[in-house]
């Protein structure tokens, strides 16, 4: 991989040309709403000012594709309860540290004495377990199908190597059920979807076929470079202009249509679907999250520790739910940028760097002012 490779997807001239093609593919007077499912796309869009290249009547709506943003507070509380157990080393990704539970964050709990360590990968957490054989090491697993294979491999490795002090609190979520829930939501009007590029590396493009088949809307699985996203928007608008609704794969240099079969196999072995799981702002969604399968029960932190397991309502002032559904823009939330900032976040959409609110706050201020005027 050379810089040249990346540069080709950031070329400003090609970007302008694509913007021109986008302009040519829309009907004047029609308003288009396109949802980018994935938080990574949200960030690319603001980082590179992609929305500034779009005609005014093409609106990008931010989807629920940030697993940190959709994690309910009760799960954070449960994690903190485990971290506070005698002798436990609790490990999680850095982005979880400042996510507010009902009373505190992992960072707060660490300041109060819990042994909470940030890791880059589940494999790092397993390494800590091996280095500390006399202590329990709990890994707070989170993410869509992109990170679930990594957790699955590590659990397999722990089992194979007989590591008896490694446990997983599984918060992995799946992408299709929340998309279906969104599409069934009566207050939502969307014309098409920019499909998640890296989730699709694992699950493939096929699981999204229900979107055109059942809801008549196009979806284009997209890469994350600016030109990837512009090209995907153009492909969606072209489908709409031609009255087509299909799954298309813009990111074919990475995403096989059938996904990564080996990853799906290892996930099927290690995980099973939870009957339901609560999504912050979206409520309970059937079969939308993973837990450890019975074969891995002895590595399941939720079976090892008593946790509060209490459902905690979101703060009243926070409108993450509406933001996640694309009903309001982040800046339309009453506390955006005032009571809720990345430094002092109320809602998860502001805490997570992938969250729509954080993306707006960090990159989107000018766009916001333009929209206000």
């Amino acid at each position: 991989m050379s810089m040249r490779y990346v540069d080709e997807y950031r070329d400003a001239e090609i970007g302008q040309a694509l913007a021109g093609k986008i302009l040519g593919s829309i009907e004047p007077g029609r308003h288009y709403k396109v949802m980018e499912v994935c938080g990574g796309h949200t960030h690319s869009i603001y980082k590179y000012g992609i929305d500034d290249l779009l005609p005014e009547n093409v609106e990008l709506v931010h989807g629920p594709g940030c697993p940190v943003c959709v994690m309910p507070m009760g799960r954070i509380d449960d994690g903190i309860a485990m971290a506070n157990e005698e002798g436990v080393i609790f490990t999680c990704f850095g982005d979880m540290m400042r996510v507010p539970g009902s009373k505190k964050t992992f960072t707060d709990a660490r300041a109060e004495g819990a042994d909470i360590r940030m890791v880059y990968s589940p494999l790092d957490a397993l390494r800590i377990a091996k280095q500390n054989p006399d202590r329990d090491v709990v890994f707070f697993a989170i993410g869509f199908e992109t990170t679930a294979p990594s957790t699955a491999l590590t659990l397999k490795r722990a089992k194979a190597e007989g590591v008896g002090n490694f446990f997983c609190m599984c918060n992995h979520v799946t992408i299709v059920p929340p998309l279906r829930a969104l599409l069934d939501s009566p207050d939502l009007r969307l014309d098409g979807f920019i499909g998640p590029g890296h989730v699709s590396t694992v699950v493939g493009a096929r699981p999204f076929e229900f979107i055109p088949a059942d809801y008549g809307k196009p979806i284009v699985v997209s890469g994350f470079e600016p030109l990837d996203i512009l090209q995907s928007i153009h492909m969606i608008l072209t489908q709409l202009a031609e009255a087509r609704a299909e799954v298309e794969n813009q990111y074919s240099r990475v995403v096989p249509y059938e996904g990564n079969v080996a990853a799906l196999k290892v996930m099927a072995e290690v995980f099973e679907l939870r009957p339901h799981f609560e999504w912050r702002g979206l409520g309970f969604i059937s079969q939308s999250a993973l837990k450890l399968s019975d074969a891995y029960a002895d590595l399941d932190a939720e079976r090892r520790y008593e946790v509060p397991g209490v459902r905690v309502a979101d703060p009243k002032a926070c409108q993450c739910g509406e933001v996640l559904k694309g009903v309001i823009k982040p800046w339309e939330c009453k506390v955006f940028g005032t009571a809720c900032t990345p430094e002092h976040a109320i809602g998860t959409c502001m805490v997570s760097p992938e969250g729509a609110c954080a993306a707006y706050y960090n990159y989107g201020r000018f766009a916001r002012e333009k929209e206000v005027v």
């Binding site: 991989m1 050379s2 810089m3 040249r4 490779y5 990346v6 080709e8 997807y9 070329d11 090609i14 994935c38 938080g39 990574g40 960030h43 594709g65 940030c66 697993p67 940190v68 990704f93 850095g94 982005d95 979880m96 540290m97 400042r98 360590r117 940030m118 890791v119 880059y120 990968s121 589940p122 494999l123 790092d124 993410g143 869509f144 992109t146 990170t147 294979p149 990594s150 957790t151 491999l153 590590t154 590029g197 890296h198 590396t201 694992v202 994350f224 030109l227 240099r253 990475v254 995403v255 096989p256 990564n260 080996a262 990853a263 290892v266 990345p342 997570s352 760097p353 992938e354 954080a358």
Partner: protein
């Protein structure tokens, strides 16, 4: 916030959890028995990566790495 090679809470680099910052990394050395590889990013950072899900791979190949596991191979040819 200095533990780990690079913490996830970085507004520029993105978020580990989403893995949308999934790094394309080149395989430098393979430990076939343990199905691990030493991989290097564009800017020279090295990490130990699970390669069980992208086998067969060879040294010099580019893989897409999420949270320490390679989940995809990146095609060599560029088509904009």
């Amino acid at each position: 916030m200095s533990e780990g090679p690079r913490h996830g809470c970085d507004h520029v680099e993105g978020c580990i959890t989403c893995g949308d910052e999934a790094a394309a990394m080149r395989i430098e050395r393979i430990d076939g028995e343990r199905e691990l590889a030493l991989c290097v990013t564009e800017d020279g950072a090295r990490r130990s990566v699970e390669i069980a899900l992208v086998q067969p791979v060879s040294e010099g190949d580019t893989v897409l790495v999420h949270a320490g596991a390679a989940i995809g191979r990146v095609a060599e040819e560029v088509s904009a």
